[in-house]
Symmetry: C2
Subunit: 223 residues, 2 copies
DNA sequence: ATAATAGTGTCTGTCAGACAATATCTA
DNA sequence: TAGATATTGTCTGACAGACACTATTAT
């Protein structure tokens, strides 16, 4: 029985939630879009395999983002070649440029979610894995400060709010959001510097705090 | 590479959170306590494997409880015999009697968590898996109505509160808890019947509602 | 000055914690 | 009757949503 890792790599880019996809170079489903991933080596830890595949297939480093195990998929027919059990991982990172063509990761590209829904979707059961990853990311923004994983090391409150708005596909009141973020100890740390982003009053720059869990959480609206 | 499933089976029994353990009948660690589990069959879905092992090793049915995937463990040295990647599952169920000795599940027994901490612990990395399962269960009581999975089909508000108190190892105000549970639409459904449990006013009997997520959640106290 | 964005202050409704009071049972 | 448990109701403080208002920049 083969064991693989698959990666749901998300970022906020051009005001949209985007996922990193690769174009399959070998059958089955050659030419189709898929999540990056690959087989776990005989003496390799699952977490190490996820980091290795992230780097090999996308050129990204785990350092500036957040990597966590998502869920394991093992339907007997999920891969037509053989029985493959795949441990899926979720990576949230800032909008980093991908390595240029010519490298191993030449086939990797950011894809807006809306484009996937219009197109043919992903190979194998990757649509399902992606949906689970997105739901996990949305839920985690509620009760952890993980939205900062989508930002650069220093960011403004507006940029952080923008992450929430894009991931949740909603609008948040800038004033209430500002109060919530800055009044929760450990959520963000003021660097003392400011950033002038064109028009308007310059915004204070923050770094991630050491808080692990938001109490109380920042809840999405429900229907 | 071998793929297995391991089960964290929890119940509330004798006012304590208890876990189902089996005594290993074969080396390595023969005679030691371990979580129930076994290898996934070549054409078997992971979820089916979890249900099968639950029944084979413990005699329990998934029906009256709640089964969900927990996490996958795959450190290269977690099993000294060979490389085994294990998909762990979490099962929460009412306090059911285990099959008597003589059946396949003769080695299965309920074990209070406190006893495990005093003793030698579990085989392999099962202490870690168990800890992850307990933390998942504790967290899920906050934002889902899953506490009812620990109760019989019909239960009183006090019994439900007792589940929270045991799993979280805390005390909750009976009046505020009663208000929260009965005023959240879909959390529980009044059956119209009552149960007289000895002394005191008889309590109304409820069944699980169809709510999937508690909004707002029922948060534990934090340090 | 005007527009735009950042940030503060205030009001209000909701909800959880504390706890008084009432209801209904057993001993 | 007293004691125990269930259930309802009230008060209060914390906090989120709505939104007026001030602050600081570019044009």
């Amino acid at each position: 029985m083969a064991v693989a890792v698959d990666l749901v790599v998300l970022t906020v880019r051009d005001d949209r939630l985007q996922v990193l996809t690769v174009t399959r170079g070998i059958p089955p489903q050659r030419g189709a879009a898929a999540l990056p991933g690959g087989f776990v080596l005989p003496d390799e830890d699952l977490h190490d395999a996820a980091i290795r595949e992230l780097h090999e297939e996308t050129g990204l480093d785990p350092a500036p983002g957040h990597l966590e195990q998502l869920r394991t998929y093992g339907a007997p027919d999920r891969d037509p070649r053989m029985r493959v059990v795949s441990v899926a991982w979720l990576f949230l990172g800032p909008d980093l440029p991908l390595p240029r063509a010519g490298s191993d990761a030449a086939a990797a590209a950011w894809t807006p979610l809306a484009d996937l829904r219009r197109g043919d979707g992903l190979a194998f059961d990757h649509d399902r894995i992606l949906a689970d990853g997105i739901e996990r990311a949305r839920a985690k923004l509620e009760y952890t400060p993980l939205a900062a994983a989508f930002c650069d090391q220093e960011f403004t409150v507006s940029q952080l709010r923008h992450v929430y708005e894009v991931v949740w596909d909603t609008r948040l009141d800038p004033r209430n959001f500002h109060r919530k973020v800055t009044s929760t100890p450990g959520f963000v740390v003021d660097t003392g510097r400011t950033e002038s982003s064109g028009r308007g009053r310059p915004a204070a720059l923050y770094r991630r705090g050491d808080l692990e869990l938001l109490h109380p959480p920042l809840l999405r609206e429900r229907p």
